[in-house]
């Protein structure tokens, strides 16, 4: 019987000195112990372990039981007495065993678990692991770091609950587990704090670095992908709680402000290999961006944040983080980027951001990323939000800044809709320049003319695809109409009248030619289609369209005709505005000629 076998080996070892234990004894002890557990004699095993006489044996051999013990605990139901016994065995082992070996045994268990059992296993073993780590004499910082890294690596593949329902359900126990891990880390944080208080010279750099690594990892996963907005009906939002705790740790060990403001020096080893250094920087970029989101959007740690920085400087500091977040496509991350950008912009007064900020690479790159979100993101609310933020960004700049930004966006956006939007903004700025009293040199005179050169032109002359570019062309025509209506030729504040020849040459003339060509082409096509319809009703599929792997139904001739007609309608619209502009120009020029 299992218990007898165990008793036999125990009795044999009781009389031996610690140093005389043999490999064979370890083996027999483990086999017998495992058998006891498997056959349901946990109570008896507990008795053996609690026996004072067996202290030395357990100290040396006990760690071997961890693996079967964990298996058994998961086998028994929650309210089973045997499970209770097993848990007490685990507790006893943590107290009695050699810390070094038990540490490795526990870590091995965590390493081996996977899938749905990860959180359960981690939560089961955190308490003994903490007990053991606190008893460790050597390499403690390293071991704490190793444990935290191992746990976080095991958790990382798990999906992060995102919706309110998923968070409440917490199917895999991730929410609960994360907060348990923070509690696990607390005594070590306290140790660092105590050491720092004792003397400012003595700094437990090693343990501190390990804790920073843990915080950085936690910021990247799960916090970067987690939903961190307050949720109605959940009093203690688990991830908000987790975030608060992580920020508390960073604050307590005195690293929060240095991390947020990039003053943190000499983090980690100096990598000789450029590639490693790049990976390290990239890794911490995600974490730092998440930290910025937590501090500026969710106001975690606001209590300790210096309140004398100027809003534009804060934007400057956050631009790299915003850039990192906007380059991602996951809703959870991207939305954090948009929120962070918005929050930074809202602190700034309109027209007060100085144009020299555009000399920073990020200030040119980020709006371009924003344009990508606006045009390519599949989620409508994100597209809308990013458009609003672009407008906010434009509004914050001084006139020269707006001017430079418009130039840059016109050249880089490659999207007729966005270009149309920028042109509308240019029109608004000219309107302000013409109606306000003070002089505005950027949206009148020669600066404006050079901007108009960009606006009032067709990218590929008469061959430009007018349908594709219709948004841009309509906006340009509207702007021109506004200019000729508003700016009397006499004072020509905007300079539009002096540059009319060029506009005619680069814009109006090719547009007219293009319109005639396009209309003729589409009309011919319609005629063709109609005749074809009469000839053959069947097999008129020219090509097929696939959208995300699904084949779209072929367009019927009727649908094709509809599309062609709507194109013609667009051309008509352009033509009518063009005609109106030409008429206005003619009337005004004539009036002036008559006067002379």
């Amino acid at each position: 019987m299992a218990v007898d076998e165990l008793q036999a080996i125990i009795q044999r070892c009781q009389i031996l000195e610690e140093a005389d234990f043999k490999g064979e004894d370890f083996n027999l002890f483990q086999v017998a112990g495992q058998k006891c557990l498997e056959d349901g004699y946990a109570a008896q095993l507990l008795e053996v372990i609690e026996n004072e006489k067996n202290k030395v044996i357990i100290k040396n051999m006990g760690w071997n039981l961890i693996s079967p013990l964990v298996r058994c605990i998961f086998m028994y139901k929650q309210e089973d007495d045997k499970r209770e016994h097993c848990l007490r065995i685990l507790d006893q082992l943590a107290q009695l065993c050699n810390p070094k070996e038990l540490f490795l045994g526990l870590l091995e268990q965590i390493e081996q678990t996977s899938g749905e059992q990860v959180c359960q296993t981690v939560m089961l073993l955190l308490q003994p692991l903490q007990t053991v780590l606190l008893k460790l004499q050597n390499k403690k910082a390293y071991s704490v770091g190793l444990s935290l890294a191992m746990i976080m690596n095991q958790l990382t593949p798990l999906p992060v609950p995102y919706t309110k329902q998923q968070i409440q359900e917490d199917k895999l126990g991730l929410c609960q587990c994360c907060n348990a891990v923070v509690d696990f880390a607390k005594p070590f944080v306290n140790e660092v704090v105590k050491n720092t208080e004792k003397s400012s010279e003595y700094n437990d750099m090693e343990l501190k670095e390990e804790l920073i690594n843990f915080c950085m990892k936690s910021l990247k996963y799960p916090l970067l992908t987690a939903q961190l907005e307050q949720l109605e009906g959940i009093e203690e939002h688990p991830f908000r709680h987790f975030a608060t705790e992580i920020i508390d740790i960073l604050w307590n060990i005195g690293e929060l402000i240095p991390l947020v403001f990039g003053h943190h020096k000499g983090r980690g080893p100096h990598w000789e290999n450029q590639e490693f250094a790049d990976i390290e920087r990239k890794n911490s970029a995600d974490s730092l961006a998440c930290l910025a989101y937590l501090m500026y959007v969710q106001h975690f740690g606001a209590e300790c944040f210096p309140m004398v920085f100027s809003p534009s400087y804060l934007l400057l500091c956050n631009m790299p983080h915003i850039e990192v977040l906007l380059k991602r496509t996951e809703e959870s991350v991207l939305s954090k980027g948009l929120d962070l950008f918005e929050s930074c912009l809202l602190r700034i007064e309109d027209n007060s951001l100085l144009h020299h900020y555009l000399e920073f690479r990020d200030f040119i790159d980020v709006p371009q990323d924003l344009v990508k979100v606006m045009t390519l993101c599949p989620m409508e609310h994100m597209r809308k939000k990013s458009l609003n933020i672009l407008q906010l960004f434009i509004d914050k700049f001084d006139t020269e800044g707006k001017y430079t930004l418009f130039r840059c966006l016109l050249k880089t956006s490659n999207h007729a809709g966005v270009e149309g939007y920028i042109i509308k903004n240019i029109k608004d700025q000219i309107h302000i320049a013409l109606t306000k009293e003070y002089e505005n040199i950027w949206f009148t005179g020669h600066h404006l003319i050079s901007l108009l050169d960009l606006v009032l032109s067709l990218p590929e002359g008469a061959e430009t695809d007018l349908l594709q570019n219709s948004d841009r062309i309509m906006a340009s025509l509207n702007l021109l109409r506004y200019l000729v209506l508003k700016d009397c030729e006499g004072d020509s504040q905007t300079g539009v009248w002096t540059t009319l020849g060029k506009i005619e040459q680069n814009f109006l003339k090719p547009l007219r030619v293009g319109l005639n060509m396009s209309k003729a082409h589409y009309e011919a096509e319609i005629k063709n289609k109609k005749e074809n319809r009469k000839v053959a009703h069947s097999s008129n599929t020219v090509c097929s369209v696939t959208v995300s792997g699904e084949k779209m139904p072929a367009m019927t001739t009727g649908m094709q005709l509809q599309v062609l007609h709507s194109a013609l309608f667009t051309f008509d619209l352009i033509e009518s505005v063009l005609a109106r502009v030409e008429e206005l120009i003619e009337v005004k020029t004539k009036a002036v000629m008559d006067e002379n």
């Binding site: 071997n64 920085f309 100085l354």
Partner: protein, 454 residues
């Protein structure tokens, strides 16, 4: 009266005193920032613009509520003065302080967070007080230092008069400056000069001035302390009677400048035209041994063309040939400047464009040889010979590599021979003192055992 009310009334009293007796220190005299000195400074010197300043402070809102204190963070607050890093009131206020001074500041919203406020602590249109608590803390100027422009101690700037606006000349900008150069208290140069940033050498202006100009604003008047590396280097400047390795001091006024176009402002045609011009210039500097200046010129080609997309076939051919020449020449400059890792990087890029480029392979070989990577260097020289069997230099470099490898191996052998005997001795000692080794062995044995029955 509760404590809350007590602090509130205290706050009001001090605010009232400030509003009544405070000195208006705003340039426009709109009473936006008022100051009372509580303790005068210990020295007469005030910080200059751009200086790194260290302060302790405590800030309260009009209702007496404390919103921030550097004491809570147990460390002084550090920022660059006059750079817009902090609220306007502070850039103005701290600039008036002397070292060791303690003062009260009252800041109107226009000089603080304005109508936008600053979530979550500062509401819209808030007036801020930086003022005394019971412990007597307020704004205290602890220390300040000149600005270290490149964080390497090479160029220290102290601004005498701040420039207008915020834009700086970039590389390639045309600047008009007045400068006076001093060495050991002797003035060796004084002139008004117009030149292109990055090409100061043409006018006997050291590279440190070019670099510093990129951080200056129109109208700025500053003093620059240059280390020899940013000055006239090891060679000195006989024309001015400046010895080698001399520390220089310059007073520079940036009178005006015209910026060079940014990369995104130029179209491909313009970039290709300019690339030809700067390539010439770079080669001229290189021939004169002015490698830092040459790097600037070749670097422009890379910044303009490396990321240029959507080129026509003809343009792309021209662009590739410029880039190849730029990378090869940059590699040569870095070899001369003894920055071998950068030289290798440039060669790699050149070879990315043309994998059998003889110069690229040869220069990478040279750089690697100088970095003591003999095997890799040998490979490069061998590849040179594959491309051009007539290359005599490569042949002789291969034998250099072999010789060096041999020397190196012998030296290693000697070092390691010593090391191994030492290790052996130490291990023997440890084995004697510890039984731990056995225990790990035991554990390994047990693990093996556990796996067989299971």
């Amino acid at each position: 009266m509760t404590t809350d009310e007590a602090t509130k009334s205290e706050g009001e009293v001090q605010a009232a005193a400030l509003a009544e007796r405070g000195e208006d220190i705003t340039p426009s005299k709109d009473r936006g920032v008022l100051k009372i000195i509580k303790r005068p400074g210990s020295e007469d010197e005030s910080p200059m613009i751009g200086d790194k300043v260290y302060v302790h402070y405590k800030g309260k809102l009009a209702n007496g509520k404390k919103f921030d204190s550097s004491r809570d963070r147990n460390e002084p607050f550090i920022f660059s003065l006059g750079k817009g890093q902090v609220i306007k009131a502070w850039d103005i206020g701290v600039a008036t302080m002397k070292k060791g001074e303690i003062c009260y500041l009252l800041c109107k919203p226009e000089y603080a967070y304005g109508s936008a406020g600053s979530a979550p602590k500062i509401p819209s249109n808030a007036t801020l007080f930086f003022e005394a608590s019971n412990a007597g803390e307020l704004v205290e100027l602890l220390d300040f230092k000149g600005e270290d422009l490149f964080e390497d101690g090479g160029i220290i700037r102290r601004i005498k008069r701040k420039g207008e606006g915020y834009s700086n000349p970039n590389e390639g900008a045309t600047v008009e400056i007045h400068l006076e150069g001093f060495c050991g208290g002797r003035r060796f140069d004084c002139k008004d000069v117009k030149f292109v940033v990055g090409e100061g050498e043409d006018h006997d202006i050291p590279i440190g001035i070019d670099k510093a100009l990129e951080k200056m604003q129109r109208g700025e008047h500053c003093i620059l302390y240059l280390s020899p590396r940013y000055g006239f280097g090891e060679a000195g400047k006989p024309k001015f009677g400046v010895q080698g390795n001399a520390e220089l001091v310059y007073e520079v006024t940036l009178k005006s400048f015209e910026k060079a176009k940014e990369s995104w402002e130029m179209d491909t045609k313009e970039k290709l035209e300019q690339a030809a011009v700067v390539k010439e210039k770079g080669t001229m500097y290189f021939k004169e041994g002015k490698y830092l200046q040459a790097v600037i010129q070749y670097g422009k080609i890379v910044s303009w063309l490396e990321m240029e997309y959507g080129l026509s076939e003809k343009e792309s051919k021209a662009s590739d040939s410029f880039l190849l020449a730029a990378f090869l020449n940059l590699a040569m400059c870095y070899l001369k400047l003894r920055e071998y890792a950068k030289a290798v990087e440039c060669c790699d890029k050149a070879l990315g464009l043309d994998q059998d480029n003889e110069k690229g392979l040869y220069r990478r070989g040279e750089a690697r040889l100088l970095m003591n990577e003999f095997e890799l260097a040998k490979c490069d020289f061998q590849k040179v010979l594959e491309v051009n069997p007539q290359n005599k230099a490569a042949k002789s470099q291969i034998s250099v590599c072999q010789k060096k490898t041999k020397e190196h191996n012998e030296r290693d052998r000697r070092i390691y021979a010593n090391m191994f005997t030492k290790f052996a001795e130490r291990d023997a000692k440890e084995a004697a003192s510890k039984t731990g080794v056995e225990k790990t062995a035991e554990k390994a044995a047990c693990e093996k055992g556990s796996k067989t029955p299971g």
